[in-house]
């Protein structure tokens, strides 16, 4: 029985040569698209020595730009985590008119170029925009100030949490929550102890992608920020300026740092997940 099933499994598998060819193709593709450019960037960034790399990254402008990027990322991520969770619950569990439309519209930021998104925001929230003129009259500046950066970043990263959480939530169903309720847990306790831990990986992926994308957003910010040095200049705008104004060494250095943060984030997330799952699925008794 076992002998025949092994033979059967082998017969359906590709031959070793095809297998290695496929693996090789994947690596080649990966190298052409990601690995070679990344190596090139890193090499260029440290070609002037680690000292000048450090110098470029620790300049006051660079520091301020990174600080702003982190702040904008932080606020946008919180906003999208809360909104994304709420929206996912509504989408999965409620029936309402226009549900299909709402489901599609969430993906709009994927489909529309960020630069167009920025333009739309300026039209509405700019000093002469429909809503902007009222807000500015009230003394709050949105566009050409950090709230505008947050708004643009949030807009661009709306789909990530929703798209990751919705399938997990749908698969999770209602049974476990209903059981928790019959065991005496209220809605809040049920959410914290049962629902949230069950959708944690979907949510964690959504948040990670949101963070990574927020760190790297450029197009929408270019339109919305006005690129005011030290005030609305984010890390990506700093890189852009570096290239434009002929000191590319600072641009390369900042690029490496920014890309590094995103990569560490993604790999860290995946490693954590593997670690936790391995711990939970090993037989302990």
């Amino acid at each position: 029985m076992s002998a025949s099933s092994t033979r059967f499994a082998r017969a359906t598998d590709a031959s070793p040569r095809v297998k290695w060819l496929l693996i090789g193709a994947v690596w080649l593709w990966f190298a052409i698209l990601i690995l070679f450019p990344a190596i090139a960037l890193a090499r260029t960034a440290i070609s002037g020595g680690l000292n000048s790399f450090w110098h470029a990254v620790s300049s006051p402008e660079a520091q301020r730009a990174f600080g702003l990027t982190l702040w904008v990322t932080f606020v946008a991520t919180i906003a999208n985590t809360l909104f994304g969770l709420g929206f996912s619950f509504v989408l999965v569990r409620q029936k309402f008119w226009g549900k299909t439309l709402a489901d599609g519209i969430v993906d709009l930021p994927f489909a529309v170029s960020p630069i167009i998104a920025g333009l739309m925001l300026v039209l509405v929230y700019g000093p002469k925009g429909w809503i902007g003129k009222w807000i500015e009259a009230g003394g709050l500046r949105v566009v050409y100030s950090w709230p505008g950066l947050v708004l643009a970043t949030t807009f661009v990263t709306v789909p990530f949490v929703v798209r990751e959480v919705v399938p997990v939530l749908r698969e999770f169903g209602l049974d476990q929550e209903e059981v928790a309720r019959t065991l005496g847990a209220g809605r809040w306790k049920t959410f914290w102890r049962v629902t949230l831990p069950s959708i944690r990986w979907g949510l964690a992926y959504g948040v990670t992608l949101t963070v990574a994308r927020s760190l790297g957003e450029f197009g929408a910010l270019l339109v919305v920020s006005g690129n005011i040095l030290g005030r609305t200049q984010t890390a990506t705008l700093f890189i852009h300026d570096g290239i434009e104004s002929f000191h590319p060494e600072s641009a390369y250095a900042a690029s490496v740092v920014l890309a590094g943060i995103s990569i560490v984030l993604l790999i860290g997330m995946e490693t954590l997940r593997k670690y936790v799952e391995a711990r939970e699925h090993s037989v302990q008794e």
């Binding site: 049974d175 476990q176 209903e178 059981v179 928790a180 309720r181 019959t182 065991l183 005496g184 847990a185 209220g186 306790k189 102890r193 049962v194 831990p197 069950s198 944690r200 939970e280 699925h281 037989v283 302990q284 008794e285």
Partner: protein, 355 residues
């Protein structure tokens, strides 16, 4: 009464899921809600648990009105068909959940969980995760978790529905034994009449959201009040009156079966095991018939007979009597109904004929 349900009704859109249902479950009993799918049995269970609101009607738990009580304050244990274990928690954490919510002290939770693990025979599995258990083990964990906070009543929604037949049979024997030990009032939903017979003290038979009949299983089997209950509680032959009239009268003093003045819409119900096969007419009323098909089912034999007027008749007899009579397909035999029920359409009126 541990559970009292009065005039419950529930409508989903245009579908009347539950239609004026009332029944009672005495304390300490194990009662089955039996009905085909769509008969409203799960909805009734969910209304009792508070997971669904009834449009009208009342629910009382251990004598107190619970109609407007939220789920978490009803004190019911609920077991789902697909276990609904918390997948991110160990077996111990699953069972402890209800106790932690009640803010019991840690040593006490530990003691109670150990006790329950022992009860469901899963000591040694405490720190595993649900994904590492078999279906039958998972359902036992679900049961332990539901019993942990000492609920007033235990509600089980098709608890064995997701298990394969061997495990299902083991588990229902085990549940019956468990209930005899723990004595918690239990109401369970099933569409499987054999399961209901094996496990429950009382049956509530449902059809189209209404209660058809209630009572102890065997009593219902012997005294069904409607064609639906007769057909649902086991295989049965449904005969027309004119077919019954073709019976050849006996001459040994048995009263000939006459059904004078019945309307044509009356139907006669005979269970396959209430039919007796003889080689020759022996003085009792009998139909001449031919054996169309003979199927051996282990200890039992199933015969498909054709009467002279073309009516098919299903008969069940033991292997021994089949051997004694040396029956074979295509042979002619006589068949005598030992017990018949006559249902008259338009009147909720049953006549029982024993020969």
């Amino acid at each position: 009464m541990a559970i009292t349900v009065r005039h419950l009704s529930k409508r989903f859109g245009s579908f009347q899921a539950v239609d004026d249902v009332s029944f009672e479950v005495p304390a300490g009993e194990l009662v089955a809600l039996l009905g085909p799918s769509g008969s409203g049995k799960s909805t009734i269970l969910r209304i009792i648990a508070g997971l669904e609101d009834a449009d009208t009607g009342e629910v009382e738990l251990t004598g107190e009105d619970a109609t407007n009580l939220p789920v978490q304050r009803r004190g019911v244990g609920f077991v789902f068909q697909h276990y609904a274990l918390f997948r991110h928690m160990t077996i111990r954490q699953n069972i402890a959940f209800g106790l932690e919510v009640q803010k019991l002290r840690r040593p006490e939770i530990r003691r109670r969980v150990d006790e329950l693990l022992d009860l469901v025979q899963l000591t040694g599995y405490a720190s595993r995760y649900p994904s590492q258990l078999s279906g039958g083990q998972r359902q036992r964990v679900a049961l332990a978790r539901a019993l942990a906070p000492a609920p007033k009543v235990l509600l089980l929604d098709e608890p064995f529905g997701a298990l394969d037949s061997k495990v299902r049979e083991e588990l229902r024997t085990w549940l019956r034994k468990l209930h005899d030990e723990v004595h918690v009032t239990s109401l369970f939903v099933t569409h499987d009449q054999q399961e209901a017979f094996e496990v429950s003290d009382q049956l509530v038979v449902l059809n189209h959201g209404r209660v058809e009949q209630m009572g102890p299983p065997q009593w219902l089997y012997e005294n069904p009040a409607s064609p639906f209950v007769t057909e649902f509680l086991g295989a049965v032959n449904v005969l027309k009156l004119e077919t019954v009239a073709t019976i050849q009268p006996g001459h040994l003093g048995d009263p000939p079966l006459v059904l004078p003045g019945r309307s044509q819409s009356s139907l006669v119900y005979v269970r396959p095991h209430d039919l007796e096969i003889t080689r020759s007419i022996n003085g009792r009323p009998a139909w001449p018939s031919r054996i169309k098909k003979l199927t051996r089912l282990g200890g039992l034999v199933r015969l498909e007979l054709v009467l002279d007027d073309g009516t098919n008749l299903l008969v069940q007899l033991t292997r021994e009597s089949c051997l004694e009579l040396a029956l074979a397909e295509g042979e002619s035999v006589f068949v005598t109904p030992k017990d018949m029920k006559v249902f008259h359409e338009s009147a909720s009126f049953v006549e029982d004929y024993a020969i």
